[in-house]
Amino acid sequence: MHRIILSAIFTMAILISGFAFQGHDHNHDHHDHDHGHDNKATHQPDKHNSHKENTHDSHAQGGHANACGVSIDHDAPFNPGTSAFHHISDQNIYSIGPWSFPLPCMFYEHGNGLKMFSSGKFNTDAHGTGSNAYDGFVLFEGLARRINDASFPKGLVNLDKNSVFSEKIIVKGKNREKVKVCYNGKLWDADDRSTLDGGMLGGGKTSFTDFSITKNVLTMILMLLFGFFLFRKVSNAYVAREGMAPSGLQGFIEPIFIFIQDEVCKPFLGNKWERYQPFIMSLFFFILFLNLFGQIPFFGGSNVTGALSVTLVLALFTALVVNFSGNKHYWEHIFWMPGVPAWVKVILTPVEMMGVIIKPLTLMLRLFGNITAGHMVISIFIGLIFVFGKSGQNVPASIGAAVGSTVLSMFMMAIELVVAFIQAFVFSILTASYIGAAIEEPHH
């Protein structure tokens, strides 16, 4: 029985991850990226300080104009907000400590077919910006972007230093960043990133479909494999040690499993709890593992459950399960609430119909908001080092701020460990209560 439940958990989780392939296309848009003093949260501060001094020195020798005559302002004040946004977004490279590792890129160009290559072809620097273009793609701050112009040469193209950069433009009163590439003395526009609305509300839309194994996708696959082997081991232990007290991993997982079973599944799902338990458990452990993995510093800093596309798919699964298992009374309560006067029904029906959409929407935003907020606060605390240290020019102040922000970050991370558990719990308890409300038998 346990084996069946556990295999169901992970088939489900694999399905979820399969739908969440479009990690970075759907990050909501953020603007006015300043280019120069963008620290990587996973980098050691001392390495970074030396880097800052280097850029400052070379700046003193005559600025950073590239071949197209666009000077790149490395002296813009450090903006912790945009820097934090950059570090929680999905990337085409995986960075562990100061090293970045290439990931496979898979881009489907409409009319050109699927392109597969490694992001190592971009020859990434410490900021995640590549110094090569490959088949019309460039890497800017960890994210691949396409130059939407057929005349740009295909294959590997060497670009000069500072050739991939962003410009601030104002569209309809809003700040936007536009990534440009300098090649052969000419400026080429790169695609904007897709936003969740598909570009309808003024955001961007890429000219290709992205199936890449990005940082988030890789993390999801890792956590799936981890969970699969963990639960296989535990379920084998139940067979091998039947009738005996649990030991080792089994003893670690069992209380958590029983806690969710007793606190979430049994009270909310009535006598059908066994049917929905695999779904609830897969949601809980998938979200818990991803939340906790995202907390490990210097190790990719994956923000998977803080990516809207991932939480969107998770919430979509909840919505599907709720609406497909809803019985007659569930739909009756939505469309024609029994026991209230007719004029109230007229008001109540649209409200209830909105509730069908708003319930998964809040699930999606709650998980996204909590995890993103936690990651951002830690990034901003680390960014304080560069704010107080004036980007490496004021070393004593940056040392002081480093001590302070280390303490604050550690405090925040301790809170985030609790939040990781609570959010996984809340997601599963709300899913259970929505399902429970949909399958409830009437007693009036």
Partner: protein, 67 residues
């Protein structure tokens, strides 16, 4: 200017959620003090209610980013 208004909106949303979750917390503490044996039920219901309030606040905050 939009940035400032959005920040005020986010602040107001957090204010409302803070009052709401604070009420839940205080009442839950009172309930636990009165009936310590019901602590499990009260805790999970407290988290559930706090999550529902938080959902409304988060929608407001995220809409304030887009606005």
């Amino acid at each position: 200017m939009t940035g400032t208004l959005a920040a005020i909106g986010a602040g107001l949303a957090v204010l409302g959620a803070g009052i709401g979750i604070g009420n839940i917390g205080s009442k839950a503490m009172e309930a636990i003090a009165r009936q310590p044996e019901a602590v499990g039920d009260i805790r999970s219901n407290m988290i559930l209610m706090a999550a529902l309030i938080e959902g409304a606040a988060l929608i407001a905050i995220i809409l304030s980013f887009f606005g």
